[in-house]
Symmetry: C2
Subunit: 242 residues, 2 copies
Amino acid sequence: MSKESAPRSSLHERIRSDLEGKILSGAWPPGHRIPTEQELRTEYGCSRMTVNKVMTQLANAGLVLRRRKTGSIVMPQQSQNAVLEIKDIKDEVTAQGGTYRHEVVERVLRKAAPSEAGELGIEDGTEVLALTCLHYADEAPFCLEDRVINLEVAPAARTESFAELAPGVWLLRHIPWSEAEHTIAAVGASARVAKLLDLSAGTPCLVMERRTWRQGETVTEVRLTYPGAANRLSARFTPSAT
Amino acid sequence: MSKESAPRSSLHERIRSDLEGKILSGAWPPGHRIPTEQELRTEYGCSRMTVNKVMTQLANAGLVLRRRKTGSIVMPQQSQNAVLEIKDIKDEVTAQGGTYRHEVVERVLRKAAPSEAGELGIEDGTEVLALTCLHYADEAPFCLEDRVINLEVAPAARTESFAELAPGVWLLRHIPWSEAEHTIAAVGASARVAKLLDLSAGTPCLVMERRTWRQGETVTEVRLTYPGAANRLSARFTPSAT
DNA sequence: GAGTGGTCTAGACCACTTT
DNA sequence: AAGTGGTCTAGACCACTCA
């Protein structure tokens, strides 16, 4: 069997759009039973593999719930779980037309303190690199970066100055991560933060802490402090994950 | 051709894990050329469809870059773009073993003011429902919710008291969303916020604004204000999207 | 022109779940 | 026992891109 015409979008994409539309428009409300793969195959005049591909994608995206024997239904209860994209610092600035630069304020090679080792989930005395950087937008400091790098996982960082590439970007290029954890909070600026970011003490700041692992080993832990009023984290997204 | 044994995990899952391991461990560094589908087919002794399925997933997850003729490579530059999950307010509390309740402080049915209509991207005079709610954890207020609902899209909200279900959850159950946008910032508590959340004015607070659309129409806009010190948003995730 | 991925098919067997 | 999704195959044609 051969196909005949030039498909602007692929068949499974068109089927997917069609089904997504029915779900997101509310035409098929949560809990609504979706035709079986056999029925869809007939409806769209294609093979079962093709509709199966679409349904698998929709299930991964969390739009439908698939069950054997009873068939698939529209996901009964959409999760409020949503996701916020965290952008690269440089991109944040340049996207707004600003000029970006960063500066390494402090660079200390030392052994992990016991408390630190516990936090990082590494052994006492493991060598780490502690960095403090300032990120500037149009020559005004707008982000303070306090970072600890596990040299056991990222030995190449030992001799890296981070003058050209900021630590975050450098790490991404050299050490792929497999898992990460974020925490975001609002805190008043400490004396140190106030001085470095040129604020008055107590100014509300957005603090993001991120820890990154590669295959179970901690790669790095970083705290990014932004003056809260001037800078925002934002993102636009859809409920689909695929 | 038939299969013989009981696969603990499916074949494509095992192939995927294998390839992911090679990429995430660094054995295949960014830019490394991945065997062609033909080679993988031979290596794993399966059909091309199966390796194609795996490679498609890895490409969707952003781990590999696929190109015709030249073949696929490990994604040269992992994006720092990551995602932060935003959880349901009630789940946030109960996950920590607290007791949760909410209270509707104010409920006003009115026509959208011109400025508001502009923000929401709706027409002047569209009827909206403005809500103010307090969310309590163990009887202490921990989140202030200011919400506007577009009644044109969600007419059922007109007669809903939101006494049982908080507005966020109610909307999820009744009006599926297709797109959303988040913004997070740190601000000092205003007099109004301080009073409602029982804080002193100027206390750093985490403010999350979320706007939700369904098929291009604004469904709702909400501002959630959390005392910054006590509450944090956090999430754990992997770079894979699939 | 040749190599690669993108897509699709027709059919098959299996696993799970409900009846 | 029967219905449904989960997976896999062998083969095919096409589209894109490089040489």
